[in-house]
Amino acid sequence: MKLLSVDDSRTIRRVISGIGSTLGYEVLEAENGHQGLEVLEESSHEIGLILLDWNMPGMDGYEFLTTIKKHPTFKTIPVMMVTTEGEKSYIIKAVQAGAAHYLTKPFSQEDMVARILETMGMGGQGKGA
């Protein structure tokens, strides 16, 4: 399985790629919601988790999230918001729109790994538990 990072900052996309590869996942990248949809059109069957920024030029994260949650096949892919927007109202809005996780920047590597593993079905009750 692969991860998809949708973020206008290449810095953040690179950080996420590094973390993904640590866990053995290739990370596909998109700079905004429109590009994200293009990637999904081609590769949705191999994407296990989308890591999504909120504020992006063009189609922002919230619009992207609501669009894919209406899509017959894309809607099953879990989404983790990764954003500087940490207000409770934003978190509630995203979760109600179907986001599975919400991680606020700055994030520690371990926080991100924990959430990725939980979504990809390996974490939470990890081998050591």
Partner: protein
């Protein structure tokens, strides 16, 4: 445009900003900085080699900027991405500094617990010699930090 006159809100924002700087540099760039001082100046004037600016709009208005010299900027971005500073190009530096400003400003908002403020996309500047001025009647509070004896400044104009 009116700035933030409420003293307790201003102080919550400045405290949040300081905590946010420390938190972001520790979590994302794995470095610690020492607080060097605080001053109030009449203008938001940047001339440090690299800078990142984020505009606050909504219930409260203003601008938050970071500035430092190019070697410190390169070092911070290199630590965030985990690549040697020599491998970074200007685009990497621009993006990294902008993202740092974005995270610092977002962190300030979260830590101060204020709602109703939208943040703009960051503006990043990298240059050998420049001066950037934001014309406003709002005063700017500068928080200075030392990182390996070099300065990292945060400018809060609200």
């Amino acid at each position: 445009m009116t700035g933030i006159r409420d003293k307790s809100l201003r102080s919550a924002l400045i405290t949040g900003l300081d905590a946010s700087v420390q938190d972001i540099l520790a979590t994302m760039a794995w470095t610690s900085v020492s607080f060097e001082g605080r001053e109030v100046v009449p203008d938001l004037l940047l001339s440090d080699g690299v800078a990142g600016l984020v505009r606050m709009q909504g219930d409260h208005e203003g601008m938050v900027a970071i500035s430092t010299d190019k070697p410190v900027g390169m070092e911070l971005v290199s630590r965030i991405i985990g690549l040697p500073a020599d491998d970074l190009n200007t685009e990497d530096l621009l993006d990294g500094v902008g993202e740092l400003a974005n995270m610092i400003c977002g962190g300030m908002k979260a830590k101060a617990g204020i709602g109703g403020v939208q943040l703009s996309s960051p503006v990043a500047i990298v240059g050998r010699e420049y001066s950037a001025l934001w014309k406003t009647h709002l005063k700017t509070e500068i928080l200075s930090y030392a990182l390996d004896k070099r300065l990292f400044r945060v400018h809060a104009c609200f």
